[in-house]
Symmetry: C2
Subunit: 393 residues, 2 copies
């Protein structure tokens, strides 16, 4: 018996989950449909259609090329689309005039050679790192428009009119996308970036809180540490760079909205993100050390001192975690952080006390395996301090 | 005085460097120009043009959509292009027939509603993880074709003819791309993946060689370790996942070529890559421990034992590095690795000897700071052993 309803229910549940996880996904899908429908109205309405003819189809293609999830992404792609079309259109008209000079026989040959040269050069430019990182989309649009206008120029009677029509339809497509993204349920890259940064801080705090209760704390079991969710949470911070970079590029394009004023310091988010990743990297080293030491099970040389250092570690973890939670709240509410951060100074003091005490007493070397971890942890404290300083700026 | 020639020389040098770094970039650029020129010939040659009319322009667009750097990528995009166009074309013809039933007034309304529904649903499907990872390109082509054919259907007399023309021109565009990529200086994703894997093994070896000569060795200075190039080389391995995944997806599409037979075990490369990254992650923890210990400068408790463990570490590093170099050569030449790997067994023995000796003698705890590093290193040895085993399969 085929369980068709079961499969269908599973599928529906999966779709519902995707929609519930981020409701903006539904909004974006509907907006995409709306923009496409609006633009296709130009084709259905006869007076408009007579003016533009077959070029109307370019407005539809433009929507497919330009419409993106966030306002910033749509805006930047839209501007690239218009500029690249303009540049390629002008160059193509120039190519057409040059080809005309070569007579009826020579024209297609000259056009073919020009398409070959321009397309090859533009494709090669995509390998330049700066172009690849920022302008690749513009180059693709440039090649597309240049090839289409040049090739068409051989058959079209009035090329200037043709190029003008293309530019108008592209502009209509871009305008439709922009109106839809900005005025219907706008999704801002800036807000996503903001949320990502606060989330990263929370993740770092979660790791330290987990370490405090499960590893350094009094009632810690230390069992099955690798399977605990908190023990891997820094990995999400480590892999956040790509998303952060793209969001911050798009956030810079966005106009003033909500709590974000003009000249919002978007670059600061990237600096903070870099510091968070550095901190997460130290956490990875610490986690890896902890796992290694657990596996090897060395005999405990000095249980009393181990306990003492363990308590210091617990204090460093819990205070640092509290400081991070405070920072994350500061970022979320966009308030100025209080200049005196008690938790941060307690954590820093515990770290420096530990270092001083340790360098005085040679006997302490016997509990070096706890010490190494503590030392890694005190590095993390210093980095969190740097994060605090960077947020204060 | 403007130094225009200087700027120009700088630009030329930069372009020459990009071309020299990978000559296939020049080949790809020329191939792109060639494919575009070939396809535009269909437009210039009058007998062909009369048959297809304005649809010829779709062959040009197809080249821009499908042509990629490697054979595998072009092939997979080409097949997606044809399948998605076919599916969307059929659905659009169906939509057209439904809309016809609703009379002259109702037709544009029904078409608009259908475009809205299909575009929204398809856009939403791009949020499904499986679709995003593998079929996003197909979905974009599907929306494009469906919107264009449906919208055009309102004006075009013979829709079946129109859809047929579109499919033919798309097929011609795809065929041109495939012929150009396969027969003119083919660039294989499989070869790139192969080279990436061997390069990763070399990078891991380079780190261990550097550690042996600069940190564990007799004449090691340990100075400015962080600035040494070998000390960061594992980072390249850690970040290789995205490129490896995309290359391995495309490699599976590629036909038999050169030394790669049918059913080449492409999945093995990903398994090996995962092991290499795990090893690189342990190296990162080791590097981070080394830097931390250097900064803290604890008094040396037992110089004799430190020396002894240092020598064991040097032996583990150098033998593991030799084993990795051997593996990399094996991958490069695609020969079967010799079943008895002397270097690997020496390194494994040094690691296990160290563990045994260490657990017997409690006094050794005093040199724990060297021991921790050694222990991390022995983990790396175990992982390299796993890599060896995986290569042998």
């Amino acid at each position: 018996r085929l369980n068709c309803p079961v499969v269908l229910t599973g599928f529906t549940e999966k779709m519902a989950k995707i929609a519930r996880d981020d409701k903006r996904r539904v909004a974006h899908s509907l907006k995409f449909g709306l923009a496409l429908t609006l633009v296709s109205v130009f084709y259905y309405v006869t007076p408009l259609f007579n003016g533009w003819g077959n070029s109307t189809i370019w407005a539809v293609i433009t929507v497919l090329f330009v419409m993106e999830f966030t306002v910033g992404a749509t805006l930047s792609k839209g501007i690239y689309r218009v500029l690249a079309t303009l540049a390629a259109g002008l160059l193509a008209v120039g190519a057409h005039l040059v080809a005309r000079l070569c007579g009826e026989e020579g024209e297609p040959v000259v056009l073919a050679v020009l398409v070959f040269l321009v397309a090859s050069a533009a494709t090669f430019s995509r390998f330049i790192p700066e172009v690849k990182a920022r302008h690749e989309y513009g180059v693709i649009i440039f090649i597309l428009t240049f090839a289409l206008v040049t090739v068409s120029s051989y058959r079209v009677e009035d090329l200037i009119e043709f190029a003008h029509e293309r530019l108008t339809t592209v502009a209509v497509g871009v305008a439709t996308c922009l109106l839809t993204t900005v005025f219907v349920f706008p999704i801002w890259a800036g807000e996503d970036l903001h949320e990502l940064t606060a989330g990263n801080l929370d993740k770092l705090a979660e790791f330290l809180e987990g370490m405090e209760s499960e590893y350094f704390g009094d009632h810690s079991s230390c069992e099955n540490l690798e399977a605990k969710p908190f023990f891997k949470v820094y990995k999400g911070v480590l892999s956040s760079k790509v998303r952060e970079d793209s969001l911050s590029t798009f956030a810079k394009w966005e106009p003033i909205h909500g709590k974000f004023r003009f000249r919002h310091p978007w670059n600061q988010y990237q600096k903070l993100g870099a510091l968070c990743r550095q901190c997460a990297s130290s956490m990875e080293a610490l986690a890896s050390c902890v796992i290694t030491l657990k596996k090897s099970q060395y005999p405990e040389a000095n249980p009393e001192l181990s306990l003492k250092i363990g308590a210091t570690c617990a204090a460093m973890s819990s205070h640092s975690a509290k400081a991070l939670r405070g920072l994350s709240l500061t970022v979320r509410t966009m308030t100025k952080p209080s200049p005196i951060n008690n938790d941060m100074s307690t954590a820093t003091k515990a770290a420096s006390d530990f270092r001083t005490e340790f360098s005085e007493d040679v006997a302490l070397l016997q509990v070096m395996h706890v010490a190494i971890i503590a030392s890694l942890l005190s590095d993390i404290v210093i980095q969190i301090k740097r994060i605090t300083e960077s947020t204060n700026n």
